[in-house]
Point group: C2
DNA sequence: CTGTTAGCGCCTTCAA
DNA sequence: TTGAAGGCGCTAACAG
């Protein structure tokens, strides 16, 4: 097995940097080729403190390039006790909410030389903990878990435990969601955003609201509903309890919920879908049923997914800086912490569009 | 990987599986605790051939669970000479085309116990090679590069070289794109799909076509244009050369190109945007200019991005099984190869919708 | 079937 | 500064 494969010790010119050789060149190949010790080669190719004589340094680098040397990641990771991996855990990477955030995370990570791995839960909150555990095994140096917390205490406890273990093992973690666990968290101000949205809507003359509310256990959905309710009341309108329907946080969820709403006799008013994807599904349902949109029924969403900015009528929503959130999560990760768990709040911005016409102006 | 987290083996209560201990427990801890050798522990926790006496096996597993043992990924990778990482390289993970495919890849990978890392090129083809090189350094066991090849020979050569090096080092690689490099490739039949689309359109009575063609160097865009051109001609229609405009492969690219088209006097006919995202941008431009859509100008796209299925008028397009493509890429990766580079072809399916009305039926 | 014994490739004290 | 030597945690021949 042991098969010293270093290229024929120079002599001539040829070999060039053809990296296509089986069994990759190692650091000792480089060391040998440049006539220095393994340690020096290591320091030259990647020594934290620069303490290698310039000419040697250059010589080693040249040899490395010439041989086509590439550090063996796992070996480095093992020696250092840590990889440069940032694990990202999301529910569904095909969902624009998550993929946009992921883009931000990837962007931030690549800038800092981190590799990002991605794990998906398929909307099963219990899998978050599993992924974090796996990431700990991989010796990832950081993890960011994006996704609404749920009201399932056991699941949350398990996640908290795994995150704690992850941090105890020397990694950094940040959650993007609600402020519910003792970890650095990037909190999206769902409640405030929804409240502002409701106020804006009442100012436009809307008074009677229905809500397509997402899964009952999802805190994100719940917060949006609560905020919206408060805002509506404050603005003189009201969310009709019988018109609050739950459904999946997806396009189909919104679609189905809207149909049920229509079936229940709803035919006039403004409906908030707790996210844009659901809102689009709701709009499709409205169209299918021949309802005048936005004349009879107005619709508002949440998130301001960019791919959805061109639907008609243009969707009123609360813009969340998704990509930026991803980038900030990475920053948070890398900042040195100064004590207890930090919380960074991100707020959304109400964007009024044609799907919720101004009733008082005509 | 082995995440045997069974509850503490009963018996006593005590230590529990608090994994919060600094300096993780290692395999030798487990071996010691269960009174077997390191090798046996290794085999029990994860020996390919099952050759450990049942009682010992159980004992080891119990100890592992009790101590909260998690294998050290990098160490395993180093010992084995390979990680269980599948590197995915895409242009932009926020783009639904890629994120949907990524979802498929992640799905397939997770099922097989592979971790997927994601690298993005930000539309710079040269970065594909860099990512593949990095992946080789990480000893990834597989890589899938998704994205159109370009006509830049140097860039392609570099990619070919890196992929070859990657494979030479023992990894498996597959490309999703055109059939242009000597590597296993999942070819998306863009030309055929576009041709079929054009034919279907001519059958609906459309004759005069404009094309928002994407970046000039992109093979995907080029193939779609070529196929469309051929199909139009075959159906008795024609793509007007002056009405073929290039633009980014993005929503804004389509938006801008459509404005230019309108500026150039175009006001009647059917326009093909070489992908759905561009088509949506084009539709927005049409709306902004008050053009009757689809009355005066009809629009067709390509991909059938699911998030875009609810735009109005509903977009005629060519459906590509994006998620499935991702899954199949993973399958291809894991199949044993039987010789030279294999090619798997995936075709799209024309989906006629309201954005391209049937002119002959009224 | 189990235990012993080498490394895997690199980083990092510890001397020189 | 540089070199020599030990070890990271695990797997994989080899014997027993």
């Amino acid at each position: 097995m042991t098969d010293t494969r270093s290229t024929p010790p120079a002599g001539g010119d040829a070999p060039a940097a053809t990296p296509d050789r089986r069994s990759p060149v190692t650091l000792s190949d480089v060391a040998r080729a440049s006539g220095v010790s393994l340690a020096t080669a290591s320091r030259a190719v990647n020594g934290s403190a620069r303490k290698v004589r310039p000419d040697l340094h250059a010589r080693v680098l040249a040899a490395a390039a010439q041989l086509g040397y590439t550090a063996n990641g796992p070996a480095q990771a093992m020696a250092r006790g840590r990889t440069s991996v940032l694990g990202l855990v999301v529910q569904d990477i095909a969902d624009p909410y998550f993929s946009t955030m992921a883009a931000g995370v990837v962007r931030g990570a690549e800038q800092r030389g981190l590799v990002v791995t991605i794990g998906t839960t398929g909307r099963d909150p219990a899998k978050e903990a599993q992924h974090v555990a796996a990431l700990r095994g991989q010796r990832a140096s950081a993890v960011v878990v994006v996704g609404s917390r749920t009201d399932d205490a056991a699941v949350q406890a398990r996640l908290a435990e795994e995150v704690a273990a992850f941090e105890a093992s020397g990694g950094r973690a940040v959650l993007v969601s609600q402020e519910s666990l003792p970890v650095d968290t990037l909190v999206v101000e769902n409640e405030q955003g929804a409240e502002a949205l409701a106020r804006a809507l009442t100012e436009r003359g809307h008074e009677r609201f229905a809500v397509l509310a997402g899964p009952p256990g999802l805190l994100t959905a719940r917060d949006r509903l609560a905020g919206f309710r408060a805002g509506a009341a404050a603005g003189g309108g009201r969310v009709v309890d019988d018109l609050v329907l739950h459904g999946d946080f997806t396009r189909d969820g919104g679609h189905a919920a809207m149909h049920r709403l229509l079936d229940a006799g709803f035919d006039r008013g403004c409906v908030l879908a707790v996210n844009d994807v659901m809102a689009v599904g709701a709009m499709a349902a409205l169209r299918e049923r021949g309802v005048d949109l936005p004349g009879a029924v107005a619709v508002a969403g949440f998130d301001d997914i960019s791919t959805l900015r061109d639907v008609t009528p243009a969707l009123t929503t609360v813009r969340l800086p998704l990509q930026e959130i991803g980038e900030r999560a990475v920053e948070l990760l890398l900042d040195e912490e100064g004590g207890g768990p930090r919380t960074v709040r991100v707020r959304g911005e109400v964007v009024l569009r044609a799907s919720t016409p101004d009733l008082r102006r005509g």
